[in-house]
Symmetry: C2
DNA sequence: CTCTTTTTCTTGCGTCAAGAAAGAAAACTT
DNA sequence: AAGTTTTCTTTCTTGACGCAAGAAAAAGAG
């Protein structure tokens, strides 16, 4: 038998093109040669893969005027931001908020639509209406709208475009992609809302340089999206990431899910509020609690700080468990609750370091995402970009 | 631009061959057509990939005598057990135990070598000696010894063949593959011991039909190996699976790692023994505790059962957390402690069901592996088979 | 000002994977 | 004996990609 050649790259076709696009996206303007090096390809392969990307207008060659030393000048490639736009959207219980972005996920316009109730009917027609409004705000330079990405909390079957179940929205087997596709005429991509954040962080944020990280959202609930070995991890049936209901304390308070001592019951907004109430400083909202902790009377501040500290400790223990199990390189804290990071952060870090088992788990970096109002919707837009470039190259 | 075809299969070359071998291995005697269907290939591709596998003697065509209805008779393919043999080995603190298996991982011979201490020097020379003894026991029909698989507890860098750190053996950056390769002249594959179990279960055991499962070993410590999306998950630096040190109870007992309330401190052997001692029925070993729980006096049995129940509850809570996070389809309980399943099982199941969040997590099946003495070593042998067929096809 | 050097990109060729389609083998049915 | 049915094989084509040689374009040397 003749010794067969080994194929160094494990990429094939479409996938290679998607990789090229992603690399151009994340590694800024980049030359063909550099691309080849990064992807473990020979330069000619890069050249060969490019025409479709350039013809579609996904990528563009820079005008290249800077002096580059001797040799043939590099033609830098970068994402062509003007040609295509994308709509991203998050369906929440009280409103639908969305953005229009270009192909580099820069936000071009934003808008939102409050909804009276969150029945599928109301929410989806609001989403369709919002899409129209957003597109009318977008620059007309755009040649073509690539699609609509939607983030929904709960259990989403993204292949089918269906929300199987959402506790927050009280949805049960709701077809999201179908109606929206019908109403807007756009390709629709649906996924879990936290997963949209994972994609956004992976492509444009803190996840660019690591291959396994978690995005943990802190707020009324605790959400978690995972990127393992470089790809989104959804579990066997798309339900992975229920960090909020990891049991942490057999003697803990009751959780909304009916069990005792879930992380969410120890570190969610309600836990903080309960703690404050017990201390005699009841607050109506978590925002109020944060204000109290930052600028209340001394007595109130102590109670509030203790409440956040306790939440931070619980969160740190939960994250430590996850790190021990998954050996993550980074944890990105996001969600509304991240603004209170100054209050719960120290306790979190301490608990995490105390319970992180091995050196590697201790090396797991924590990153707090600056509060970005559009982050969710932007993530949803990323879904479309990913799907488009990963699949639609004709 | 012409519409490009989509490549349905994501397999390429070597990988396809490895898939074919694995499918033949796990799906018994199977025809080319069936193989093609399973792997999403067209029959001709299967035919094309086979010659190297057949020539190497990894696979063989059955003599096919059974009547098969009309049509050209299928030529069933099966693993050729006789041609190659493999050595698998587990290095433990008190002995090295190993097996010789055929290519279907059937155990042909077993042996073990006690070691006085577990310094790398002692352990590795014992392993080399044991390899020699095992091979002399093996049938000489074997054409060729494919390699030596070694399972070591702790943090293993399998690519380098090095044990980075093992608490159990008190090893630090010990080169395992090098010396053994030198001493035995065989290709050596090293991995974490629990990971060898994962591979074994995936190929020959309870993991055959699921794509994401965990193997959890119960004993002095709690170990865990993960198979996610069909492939072994080792985390960013090979440290994933530290289930034993997931924090579960802030008020729990101290763990050997110095933290409080780790799963291992709540459900490991020592937890059971401590509970018994507190109840006034001190035992020297876990075996004694099991005997006590099964056939002691009523008072002793109550205490012992309570101890196991508590451990089972803690384990159930830990597993529930893992399920919630990873949406596993199955959890396989193994290790020495699995024999006590009748004692802690009910509590485990109850706690798991109580804390498993979503329907999918609740659907996660628990399987208790019947105590198999060679399971670890057999798993190590599987490593070699996997690596060989996955990589060495020339 | 021309020639060389250097770096980058492109073109042509060979190989391998894998689908498509048609043909060959081997059994059963009529 | 001829047809039917299922399985396996052969041949052809497309596409990905490495390899190697060549073309492009700029800086530096003589």
């Amino acid at each position: 038998m003749s010794p067969s050649k080994i194929r160094f790259s494990e990429l094939v076709g479409e996938q290679t093109r998607a990789e090229i696009f992603a690399t151009v996206l994340t590694a800024g303007p980049i030359s063909r040669t550099q691309l080849a090096q990064r992807l473990g390809l020979v330069p000619s392969s890069v050249t060969r893969m490019l025409p479709p990307l350039l013809e579609h207008g996904y990528l563009r060659e820079a005008d290249a005027t800077a002096p580059q030393g001797r040799g043939r000048p590099q033609k830098m490639l970068h994402v062509n931001p003007d040609k295509h736009i994308v709509v991203g959207m998050k369906i929440g219980p009280a409103q639908v908020s969305g953005v229009v972005t270009d192909m580099a996920a820069n936000v071009l316009a934003r808008d939102e639509e409050p909804i009276a109730d969150c029945t599928p009917r109301t929410a989806l027609s609001a989403a369709a209406a919002l899409t129209g409004r957003l597109l009318s705000k977008a620059p007309e330079a755009a040649d073509r709208v690539l699609g609509l990405g939607v983030g929904v909390s709960g259990h989403v079957d993204s292949a089918a475009g269906v929300c199987r179940y959402s506790a927050l929205l009280d949805w049960n087997k709701v077809d999201v992609a179908g109606p929206l596709q019908e109403a807007t005429g756009l390709p629709v991509v649906v996924n879990n809302d936290v997963n949209t954040l994972v994609v956004a962080e992976r492509w444009f944020g803190e996840g660019r340089d690591v291959d396994s990280f978690a995005v943990v959202t802190v707020g009324p609930g605790i959400g978690c999206g995972l990127l393992l070995n470089g790809s989104l991890f959804s579990g066997a049936t798309g339900l992975a990431g229920e960090l909020g209901h990891v049991p942490l304390d057999p003697a803990g308070p009751m959780c909304s899910c009916g069990r005792r001592g879930c992380l969410e019951a120890l570190a969610g907004d309600r836990a903080v509020l309960r703690h404050l109430q017990d201390g005699g400083f009841a607050c109506a909202s978590i925002g109020e609690a944060i204000t109290l902790a930052r600028s209340g009377t001394d007595a109130a501040r102590n109670v509030a700080l203790a409440a956040f500290t306790e939440a931070g400790t619980a969160l740190g223990r939960g994250l430590a468990g996850m790190c021990n199990l998954l050996n993550l390189q980074k944890i990105i804290l996001a969600g509304e609750g991240a603004v209170a990071h100054d209050l719960f952060g120290p306790a979190l870090t301490q608990a995490l370091e105390a319970h992180a088992f091995s050196t590697a788990a201790r090396d797991c970096r924590i990153h707090v995402d600056p509060v970005q109002h559009d982050l969710w919707a932007r993530g949803a837009a990323c879904l479309v970009i990913r799907d488009t470039v990963g699949a639609t190259l004709s």
